[in-house]
Every structure is written in structure tokens, then in C-alpha cells.
């Protein structure tokens, strides 16, 4: 998985203390690392689903309220009817026309993911930009930072009416909600990252005659990127939560809208099915971001290895 091949694998030192056979086994497994990870993920989820099924089999969980996975995953075609209703339930269109149930689930999932993605991009660019400007211009700092600090503890839910007042319904309010949920925290995080940049790196650039603009562009911004990507990942799940709230107000189609529909029609199976889809989407998104992080920040060592030897 590691993009940069390293001469000294930290794992090699750890392996030395283990019995030789075990370390040989580990070495032969190294190439199958991703397979092992999938196996563990499968095991983890199976265990959770298994406990749930057990509760159902023992009669502790009412299947009308807490339907176990084998029930809510049983009929995807049936569940899929509730997805993408905006195009499937149009006036004058029969239920058999338009995208199939499975396609509808995909379309709905993709629409929600796209809103999260676009919101995340806009929020990151704005927040890093504003954060850098705040540290670059003292005047801007004094003028803007108090307001940002004031607004940052406000729950994104409180912004929901504002989103609807400003953007009505559609994609825009959902994206606005994601941006507003992330922006203020990310500005403060950017400032914090800038303040903790290694002074030596800045001083090196200064002794080489770099201007303030050059120091920001060539030293400070690259130096804060690793931390900012970390902040982005932390906020990713927040973005997923907020987008559902926004969609439940009536974007037309989206995972939040399906949840709302399931609530209003008292359909626990649909609720759990939607939760499962959201979980898979969020998990995949985080995984892709981690992959991107490793590719963009090739110079960072794998810190997990440090703890593994303990």
C-alpha cells in the first residue's frame, strides 16, 4: 500500500523480536496485506450482524422495529422503489419506466456523495484561503477572526433555515450546509497549523532571501498540508451527517430524503437499508481520502507502525 518504498521497514525491526517462523509467515503475508484487511473488515461486520441476528432469533428484537440484516437486505428491488423518487414518481410516468430500483439506489447514493464532495472541496479551499489570509495580514486577522470564532460553535442545524431562505431547495442548500458545517472549524484549524510550522523551515527560507509571499507559498502552505488533510478526514463524517439533514428538507432525491420518507411511512426496513448504504458510502469515501492522502503526502512516514511495535 505504501507509495514510497523505504530502505528500512519499521516492521522489520519489530519482526526480529518475534519467533523466526512467525516472522517468515508475516513476510509472506506482507504482499497479501490488503486481503487480510478485507478479511478483518468482513469479520468485524459479520460479528455485528451476527449479534443482531442472534437477538432476532432469540426473539429479543422485534422484527417490525429492528429488522435484522437478512430481512432488510432481503429485497433490494423492493427497497429501491423508494430511492430516486424524483424521477421515478413523476406525474404521468408509470412505475415500470425510468431507472430500475438498483440504478435508483446508485443514483441517490451518487447524488449525496457528490454533495458531500463538492461541499468538502469548497469548504477546504475557502478555509485554507481565509486561514492563510488571517495570518498573512494582521489587519484581516483583527477584522475577521472574532466573527469566525463567534460563529464556529453554532450547530450546522441552526443554519438549515438560512440555507433554505437563501437557496430554496435543491443541491445548493445541501452543499451550503456542508460548507457551513466545515468552514469555521477548518479556518481555526488552518490558523493552528500555520502557528505550529517548524520555525527552522521558515528561518531557512528567510536567510535565503525569500519574501513573505514566497515563504507562505513555498514553506507554510506545503508544511500545513499534512495536518489539513487530517482535519479534512476528521470533518468528513461531520459532512456526511449534515448532508442528510439538509436533504431531508426536500432536495428531491438523496439519502436524507429516503430516511425521511422511511420515517414518515414507518418503514424500519428502509431505515436500516439506507443506513447500511450510507455506511458503505462513508467508509468508501474515507478510504479513498486516505489513499489520496498517502499519494499527495508521500513524504510522511507511516505512523501506525510506530505503535504496532509496542
Amino acid at each position: 500500500m505504501a507509495v514510497v518504498a523505504r530502505d528500512s521497514e519499521p516492521g522489520a525491526a519489530a519482526g526480529a523480536s518475534r519467533p523466526a517462523a512467525a516472522s517468515r509467515l508475516m513476510a509472506s503475508m506482507a504482499g497479501l496485506d490488503w486481503l487480510a484487511r478485507i478479511w478483518w473488515a468482513f469479520l468485524s461486520i459479520s460479528l455485528f450482524a451476527g449479534l443482531w441476528e442472534l437477538c432476532w432469533a432469540m426473539g429479543w428484537a422485534d422484527e417490525k422495529l429492528l429488522p435484522p440484516p437478512h430481512i432488510f437486505l432481503d429485497n433490494i428491488a423492493e427497497q429501491g422503489r423508494y430511492f430516486n423518487t424524483a424521477t421515478r414518481w413523476q406525474v404521468g410516468q408509470s412505475m415500470t419506466e425510468g431507472p430500475s430500483a438498483f440504478e435508483s439506489v446508485l443514483i441517490t447514493g451518487a447524488a449525496t456523495t457528490a454533495r458531500v464532495f463538492v461541499g468538502l472541496i469548497i469548504a477546504s479551499v475557502l478555509a485554507i484561503g481565509v486561514g492563510v489570509l488571517i495570518r498573512y495580514y494582521r489587519f484581516f486577522d483583527r477584522l475577521v477572526l472574532p466573527t469566525i470564532t463567534l460563529l464556529s460553535p453554532v450547530s450546522p442545524i441552526a443554519w438549515l433555515p438560512v440555507a433554505i431562505f437563501l437557496f430554496g431547495i435543491g443541491n445548493a442548500p445541501a452543499i451550503f450546509m456542508v460548507v457551513v458545517a466545515l468552514f469555521f472549524h477548518m479556518v481555526l484549524a488552518t490558523i493552528n497549523q500555520i502557528d505550529t510550522v517548524n520555525t527552522n523551515l521558515i528561518n531557512v527560507a528567510r536567510t535565503m532571501g525569500a519574501s513573505k509571499a514566497q515563504i507562505y507559498a513555498r514553506v507554510i502552505v506545503p508544511a500545513i498540508l499534512p495536518g489539513m488533510l487530517q482535519v479534512l478526514r476528521m470533518n468528513l463524517f461531520g459532512a456526511w451527517m449534515v448532508v442528510l439533514v439538509a436533504e431531508s428538507t426536500g432536495v428531491g432525491y438523496g439519502m436524507g430524503q429516503v430516511i425521511m420518507l422511511a420515517r414518515n411511512t414507518f418503514n424500519p426496513s428502509l431505515v436500516f437499508f439506507t443506513i447500511a448504504v450510507i455506511g458503505v458510502l462513508g467508509f468508501t469515501f474515507d478510504w479513498l481520502l486516505r489513499l489520496a492522502q498517502r499519494r499527495i503526502l508521500y513524504w510522511l512516514p507511516d505512523t501506525v507502525e510506530r505503535l504496532r511495535v509496542l
Binding site: 514510497v4 523505504r6 530502505d7 517548524n198 527552522n200 523551515l201 528561518n203 531557512v204 527560507a205 528567510r206 536567510t207 535565503m208 532571501g209 525569500a210 514566497q214 513555498r218 514553506v219 506545503p222 508544511a223 498540508l225 508521500y298 513524504w299 510522511l300 512516514p301
Partner: protein, 275 residues
């Protein structure tokens, strides 16, 4: 600079300090006088070591000479020019690694040139030449995290050399290295110094290092830092560090430092006892 700014010394001197002092957080409750009354002349091509206990302000003086901090008292000149801002003529090398982790070795070395907008070909040529001088040309396209601590410091030296500095300022550059690597790096540094003709100002708290490297050792007192005495070392190079002469120097410097360390300890103990 006009001559009236610098009336009492030759403008050819690499570094001149007159009455230099530094108070951190001046004017606040936390004001703390780190350095005071520093008068020092460093000739071009001279190797001067600053020796003193931790916290005696020797690094502060280096930062003042580099122009990274402003002196609160006195003035500094370098080759007749008043030191007000950092300059590529005075390169600073730090204790910890200060390479940019996102750049390759050669990009790190030519960072100063890219600031000036040099073309890629020119930067690569200069970087190759500087890396050649530190024996790391083969590592040009590697990344800093692929190098050992000693190699990283050699890259830092190459980066400083690529700016063709007239003064090399070194803040305990080998402190984080193991003893064997450090001895090799000292030999390496002497070679580089001889080739470049630059003056070197080298901060350390290791007496051995001072004896191995210096033309003159500037011994500092602790808190606030003053120049206690300057010990010239007239041994020829390459130096036999096991000779009687070297041993006598070590004894002399150890005695000079011991007083300061004792004083610093006494102060710390007095400070620790609640009044």
C-alpha cells in the same frame, strides 16, 4: 554603509559586534536578558567556536548575526554592512534537520536559487556541484526521509554552500549525531571550510568539538551571556586530538566552563527554593 557607522574597525571583517545585547520580551513582565555587552571581531576565513553552557545566549548571538532577530542593544556589521535583515551571504545551519520534507535533496539544495527564479537546468547544475562537495551527489533525487541524520546535515551544509555564503553560521549542527558520525562530520566540515574560504561561526557545548575545530574559542558566561574570554588555538591542522597540547586545551576550557555551570546550577537551585 557610510564610514561613520563603523568607525572603529576594518570593513573587511566578516563579522563585527559592538556592545550587542538581546532582551527577549523586552518591556513586558517576562523580559529576560539573554545576552549583553558583546564585542567581537571575526576575520574573513576564520573558524570561531562559541562555547558555553546551555541557555547562555550563544545561539541567540548567532541568530542576531544571521539577522533573524534584532539586537536590543548595540550594532552588528558584516563586511562593513550593517546587519538588519537576513542575507544569503550569511547562511545558518540548524541543530535539527531543517530540510523541506516535501522536496527532493537537489530541490532542497537549490531552494535559494528557485527563490531568485533561476531556471531548472541552472538549479540542478548548482545543486549537483554543491552535493558533489559534500559527497552526496548520488543521493540527488532522494527524499530527506530516506537519508540518515548525518547525510541530512551534509545536505543542509550543501544547501548553505549553494548560496556561496561568506559567513557560515552553525547552531550545534552535529549535536543530534552519534559520536563516530560527529567526528567524521567535523573532518568533513573542515574540508568544506578550507575549500569555500568562508568564515565559520560554530555554536557548541562540546569542549572536544571546540578543540577539534576552532581557530579561536569564544567562552560565554551564563545568564546573561557575556564573553568570558577568548581562547586562541594555534595547533596546526590536521590536529592530533590526543596530543598533550590538545589535552591541555581541554583542561583549560573545562575549568573555564565549570565555573559557569556551577554558577548556573547555584542559580537554578536558588530559583527552585520558594522564597
Amino acid at each position: 554603509m557610510s564610514s561613520e557607522d563603523a568607525p572603529h574597525f576594518s570593513s573587511k571583517d566578516a563579522v563585527v559586534c559592538r556592545g550587542v545585547g538581546k532582551t527577549w520580551a523586552a518591556g513586558t513582565k517576562r523580559a529576560h536578558n539573554a545576552l549583553t555587552d558583546i564585542d567581537l571581531d571575526v576575520a574573513p576565513g576564520e573558524f570561531v567556536v562559541f562555547l558555553g553552557p546551555s541557555g547562555c545566549g550563544k545561539s541567540t548571538l548567532l541568530y542576531l548575526i544571521a539577522g533573524l532577530e534584532d539586537a536590543t542593544e548595540g550594532k552588528l556589521w558584516s563586511f562593513g554592512d550593517l546587519v538588519e535583515t537576513p542575507s544569503p551571504e550569511r547562511s545558518l545551519i540548524f541543530q535539527e534537520t531543517s530540510l523541506f520534507p516535501w522536496l527532493t535533496v537537489w530541490e532542497n539544495v537549490s531552494f535559494g536559487l528557485s527563490i531568485r527564479g533561476a531556471s531548472k537546468d541552472e538549479r540542478r547544475t548548482v545543486a549537483a556541484e554543491a552535493l558533489q562537495r559534500v559527497g552526496l551527489k548520488a543521493a540527488m533525487d532522494k527524499r530527506p526521509d530516506e537519508l540518515s541524520g548525518g547525510m541530512r546535515q551534509r545536505v543542509a551544509v550543501a544547501r548553505a554552500l549553494a548560496m556561496r555564503p561568506r559567513v557560515l553560521l552553525m547552531d550545534e549542527p552535529f549535536a543530534a549525531l552519534d559520536v563516530q558520525t560527529r567526528a567524521r562530520m567535523q573532518d568533513f566540515l573542515l574540508d568544506v571550510w578550507r575549500d569555500s574560504g568562508a568564515s565559520v561561526l560554530f555554536v557548541t557545548h562540546h569542549i572536544d568539538e571546540a578543540v577539534a575545530l576552532a581557530d579561536r574559542v569564544v567562552v560565554f558566561t551564563s545568564r546573561p551571556g557575556r564573553i568570558k574570554t577568548i581562547v586562541p588555538i594555534e595547533m596546526s591542522r590536521p590536529r592530533n586530538l590526543f596530543s598533550r597540547e590538545a589535552e591541555n586545551l581541554r583542561i583549560q576550557l573545562t575549568d573555564l566552563l565549570r565555573d559557569e555551570v556551577d554558577r548556573a546550577f547555584a542559580e537554578q537551585e536558588a530559583f527552585a527554593i520558594p522564597a
